[in-house]
Symmetry: C2
Subunit: 253 residues, 2 copies
């Protein structure tokens, strides 16, 4: 999450530190967590400089932990991606997410507890994975593919789709007077979102305000660059999901 936030400015992540707060330290569990952090740092070409492990048995319940992270990146002032050049007619390209990523878990927990579903139940239409596995799919790290496009000068704006979904994360990178028109049929919504919507009886608006719905990173680019990016994407999946229009906010169609 940290490094995906950083690249939205066109910056290259430099280093990362974690904060791991738990009851009494479970070394095996901590090792698994650190292994994941190391993998994330590798994927984002970022140094794991250190971190803080806090044991608070009087505060955290046994076996539970909270984890946060902090990263610093670097970009030349003249090369900051800030959305200022975005204009009507520009194109929104979406990079697929692996699932819910790291947002919306309070709602996920409510759906699980209200529906009585088990994490070990098979997730419908997903092949053979369980709901638990789908929920724990690691967040996609977009650093390398995004920076490649940024360095090629093809990116006007970047939105990391986190809490608030498209609705909150896309418009805030636009100049005033511009909004987004998003074609919700233009990408494949992962099965976990369909399952959450159905089991939690959640309306589209709330789904879109809470979850990424299958798109974890949005690039705003000119129509010409968009064509260029899409025709050179090779085996990568990149969706053309909408365009920049007069107005404000996000219109879903």
């Amino acid at each position: 999450m940290s490094v995906n936030d950083i690249v939205t400015s066109g910056a290259k992540p430099l280093f990362f530190l974690d904060y791991f707060a738990t009851s009494e330290l479970d070394v095996d569990l901590a090792e698994q967590v650190i292994k994941g952090i190391v993998e994330g740092c590798k994927q984002s070409d970022c140094v794991l400089l250190g971190g803080e492990t806090a044991e608070m048995p009087g505060f955290y319940a046994k076996g539970e932990y909270d984890l946060s992270g902090f990263a610093v990146g670097i970009v030349k002032k003249s090369e900051v991606v800030d959305g200022k050049s975005i204009k009507e007619g520009d194109v929104l390209l979406g990079f697929p997410s692996s699932g819910v990523h790291s947002n919306g878990f309070s709602l996920v927990r409510r759906v699980l507890s209200d529906s009585g579903a088990s994490l070990n139940d098979k997730l419908p239409d997903s092949g053979d994975i369980t709901i638990g596995e789908a929920l724990l799919a690691p967040t996609v790290i977009y650093v390398k593919e995004v920076l490649e496009l940024v360095n090629a000068g093809k990116v006007k704006g970047l939105a990391h789709i986190t809490g608030g979904g498209f609705t909150d994360n896309i418009p805030r990178i636009f100049p005033e007077g511009l909004g987004a028109s998003v074609d919700v049929t233009s990408w494949v919504v992962p099965p976990i979102f369909k399952w959450l919507k159905k089991m939690g009886n959640i309306n589209d608006q709330e789904m879109r305000r809470t979850f990424n719905m299958g798109i974890g990173m949005v690039i705003v680019t000119s129509p010409e660059w968009a064509e260029d990016i899409l025709s050179n994407k090779g085996t990568k999946i990149i969706y053309k999901i909408g365009q920049v229009v007069k107005g404000n906010g996000v219109n879903y169609c």
Copy 2:
């Protein structure tokens, strides 16, 4: 804690971000916390760049929160304070703490719960403050006074006394083969530590491994510079608490 850690390298804190994780957001409470952070940033001449507020009602108990912070500082490579020049006969100077600072609270909670004491009880020998007030005394931020001495070229090593107390924090800045001899009668131990020791029936060794015992920052300097610092300290309290000796670890006498 973050900026006190940073100055131990002789670095100047640049910016700070917080992570505030809670159940449902209590705006009044969050405002008080942020106010404290702002005050800490002012005291350390550090910019509060931003932060992350995480609402996790399914995880944190109502009214509870965890708080962590992250800071970045800067120092020229050639001016890093790393303890390499420390030698036998060098002097340890101690800056007073305001109390337990931010370490040892698991033990504090155990003492409170085992002894049945109330946070509203008066703390003996403290004038008129309660145990709760003594425990909540803000951590002293040593940034400005430490950097002043660092910039004057008078500091060989710095130890921020956190979890592990003198025992863990002082020796690790020494070159191999050197230890510390600390005169435990050389400074005033704040009443909260005497109270914790008595109510928790905690031996000296555990007290010293857990708490700062009244000294929050230790400077290692030459005998000449020590004399100079002590004679120019004005109204500030700085204790001469010990010296560097052959050996390892910390000897208390």
